[in-house]
Symmetry: C2
Subunit: 363 residues, 2 copies
């Protein structure tokens, strides 16, 4: 199961609490073991094609005065999450940080409370969204999928994700909803809001049978989770369409193989997802309007070239072609051939190409 129910999450939190209490009752200082998330222990698993945590464990020992602070912060976050789940509420990471004051718990800054939330994810083996904790950012979704809500006040209510022609924000309600039916054939994740709107209003979603996801740059983890769930539950292949630059490539790669930051969280990646472009070859083939790459762009390409997630011939080819080209292009650049070109010509070539379709199925 990818998303635990509130009941399952509560049980894990309760087990954590019982562990602590029983140690105290035995007259012992409670300790908590968790996987080590430091860089040394993040390893790239070639088989899974993603970052995972190695075998190293760390221990928060309440008998150690240097651990007392982080130990109590962790227990407070656990108890805060329990309150959220019991009352059917959610909290942003920011709100959690400020809420700590109400309980006399101190965090130096939000970076510290965010880190402790990650600690709790490791200890209980759940993602923060399972604990009712969400980031502020939102991306959007639109397409022929029916979702069943489970949030308070909407339990069991279903929504057809074509009902709002502006799409739906991927917020706490949709992330915890259950996919129940679809007429779609694939998921198409796009970087920009302009492209997302274009694909809705031209009816491209119907033509390609596409569930559209607007990423808005590097998408929040909750968006990656929803894409993974739709992919698995509805058996839909995933295509990713971003700007043609190292940052766009990396948006796709993180959706495919995950990130070091989230190496301790399962259920975020779609290893068979495919980056369809804008590739450097597309820039050449379509003579797209381009901008020269900045120093930051070129430096980023060097980093990607050494990154284990890109250690496959196709990715290396894209990187070396970008290095040769030294130019980049946005998704919107296809509009130079008219605003419908991307729907009429480019996407059919990319998505409906039989060899690509085969590759997606084979992977």
């Amino acid at each position: 199961m990818l998303v635990s129910s509130a009941g399952d999450s509560l049980q894990r939190l309760q087990e954590l609490g019982e562990l602590v209490i029983s140690a105290i009752k035995r007259g012992e200082f409670p300790k908590l073991e968790m996987p080590d998330r430091s860089t040394n222990n993040i390893v790239f698993n070639k088989e899974k094609n993603q970052f995972v945590l190695g075998p190293s464990q760390i221990c928060r020992d309440s008998s150690n005065t240097r651990h007392v602070r982080s130990f109590s912060q962790l227990l407070w976050v656990a108890s805060f999450a329990k309150t959220l789940l019991e009352s059917g509420r959610t909290s942003s990471l920011r709100d959690l940080y400020y809420s700590s004051e109400a309980y006399g718990v101190h965090f130096k800054d939000q970076a510290e409370s965010d880190r402790v939330v990650s600690d709790l994810e490791c200890v209980v083996g759940l993602a923060r969204e399972d604990l009712g904790i969400f980031p502020e950012e939102r991306s959007s979704i639109f397409g022929q999928v029916t979702m069943r809500y489970s949030v308070a006040g909407y339990e069991g209510r279903e929504i057809d994700l074509t009902m709002s022609p502006d799409g739906f924000p991927i917020g706490p309600a949709l992330v915890t909803a259950e996919p129940v039916a679809t007429d779609a054939e694939l998921i198409l994740a796009v970087e920009s809001g302009g492209m997302f709107s274009r694909l809705i209003e031209t009816g491209a979603w119907r033509r390609f049978g596409a569930v559209l996801v607007q990423l808005g740059g590097q998408p929040p983890r909750s968006t990656r989770r929803l894409v993974r769930r739709l992919h698995e539950a509805l058996n839909l292949p995933v295509y990713i369409f971003t700007d043609g630059d190292p940052w766009g490539m990396h948006i796709a790669q993180v959706m495919i193989s995950g990130s070091a930051n989230a190496a301790h969280v399962d259920g975020l990646t779609v290893p068979t997802a495919k980056w369809i472009g804008v590739t450097p070859a597309d820039i050449r083939k379509y003579s797209l309007p381009t901008e020269p790459m900045s120093d930051a762009d070129l430096k980023r390409l060097d980093e990607l070239a050494r990154d284990p997630r890109y250690a496959n011939p196709e990715s290396q080819r894209h990187i070396s072609e970008f290095r040769e080209l030294r130019r980049k292009a946005e998704q919107q650049a296809f509009s130079r051939f008219g605003i419908d070109f991307v729907v009429e010509e480019y996407l059919p070539d990319k998505i409906l190409d039989p060899s690509d379709a085969k590759r997606v199925t084979k992977q």
Copy 2:
């Protein structure tokens, strides 16, 4: 009428075209007159409490070689908008910029094409949204309002804006939809996504009869238009709740009195809207967790103190209290009293206070 129908917009564009063609037929160089949008001609109208354009006009004269470029750019944007409206499409400002290449029209950068879009707004007296042109950014809305869509494929379909517990993005479809019914009593615009979610999931929207609008910082013009339309069409007072700093104050003030940048566009402001906080007095009263103001914050306060939109006793009082305090607080800071405090205590005080309610009605 606040938003013109596609038919009205098309007619204005056609009149513009006929003006140009008839001049050519008479053997004259076509000229276009429009209000001057330079700083010299932006004046503050005390009665309306907003920036408007003064009487100065400028002329784009196609017989003047220095005008030929901007004249033809303007006509191209007009013809692009006509194509959009005729085909029921929209375009982002970014897409419009890239689309120009398809027609051999050149813009130096997007800033230039954005400026020409503003020129066209002046010439035809319509906002860019009436011409099918939208920015990329989106904010969100949730509440007891039924809207009737007019976008292609959804003509006449109605949506209840409580159907999605994550809210609805304020995109092209919602901005051009018609409000048809409401059970709400007020509009509450909030700055952060976290606050927006909190007010949905606690049922605060029902308790206060509030249509919730998430601004996400300085909101796009289309969001301000939608708020104004709901305010007028449904007779709902507007409250604005932002972070307690000069930037938050200014988000509210722009919604109330408009901005110099949009002085040529009608239908964006709600002069009776009220900024409810976080005020400097709130920061003191609730002993909120604060951060010290940065130099940029203090400089911004100085600018606001001289700004004609703040030339009223209440605004000046807020500014001088902020200057004394030299500290700022976020909306989320109320969570120090528990995550429901803002719903249980703060907002009822602010929104349900009888003297405030009277003031809103009287304004």
